[in-house]
Symmetry: C2
Subunit: 124 residues, 2 copies
Amino acid sequence: MALQTSSTVLNSLSALNKFSSAQEVYSHIQKTKKNIGLSTVYRTLQKLAESEEVDFLRRPDGEGVYKVCAQSHHHHLLCANCGASAEFQSDKFEKLLESISKEYGYTVQGHEAEIVGLCKKCGR
Amino acid sequence: MALQTSSTVLNSLSALNKFSSAQEVYSHIQKTKKNIGLSTVYRTLQKLAESEEVDFLRRPDGEGVYKVCAQSHHHHLLCANCGASAEFQSDKFEKLLESISKEYGYTVQGHEAEIVGLCKKCGR
DNA sequence: TTTAATGCAAATACTTTGCAGGAAA
DNA sequence: TTTCCTGCAAAGTATTTGCATTAAA
């Protein structure tokens, strides 16, 4: 994968600054002078997610979305209504996840625990 | 929606005894003498989820899945590999969710926090 | 009769894949 | 040359919707 492609996609993701779908990234790129096909956007986002340069999760409607994140190990609060997200990091939460998982023989990997709720704006 | 349709779907879900997609429920029903169209299965599952008679969540691959659950308020541990699930209920977890959410102005609703990891069998 | 439920086929939407052309090594 | 990257179009899959038919009230 060309380096330039990666950074175009990364730039777009950064500019969007929220969990965005491949389609959204694609549209955003189209508005610039750059030109990248939709499949390439999909392929690039997948690779970026594999190499953990971007976070991946699913919106409640099932669409896959990506975001460039600040912290290395963290979880997300995701608004079920507007899609806003917040990152958090908590040792307490980590330990609790760990102990609950262990109790059931599960192994938590990465930051695969998201909390879905309603954000301040949508939550009234 | 006919009462009979609901119970056919519910029976099927119970028999499957794991988070199952509409398609899986549909196939399962087809193996019995009952006959229900795919759209009806989708519509019925959606209604059952709305009325909270069944739980709904998404597999990591984005497919929507349903299950008849025992406890009224609980969360799930979901295996990213084989799809096995376990229910858990923990006051500590509840309180922590609450306080983390509050800190960011989020409102957690229902049991919308799932932990994805690897189950005992898949986790080695 | 009036309303609600159902099945089927068609339409959507997201995502993946095959493949040929081009760039890079 | 050989391998990798890319775009386009086609295919795949999950889900929803329009509509005519049928069942229920």
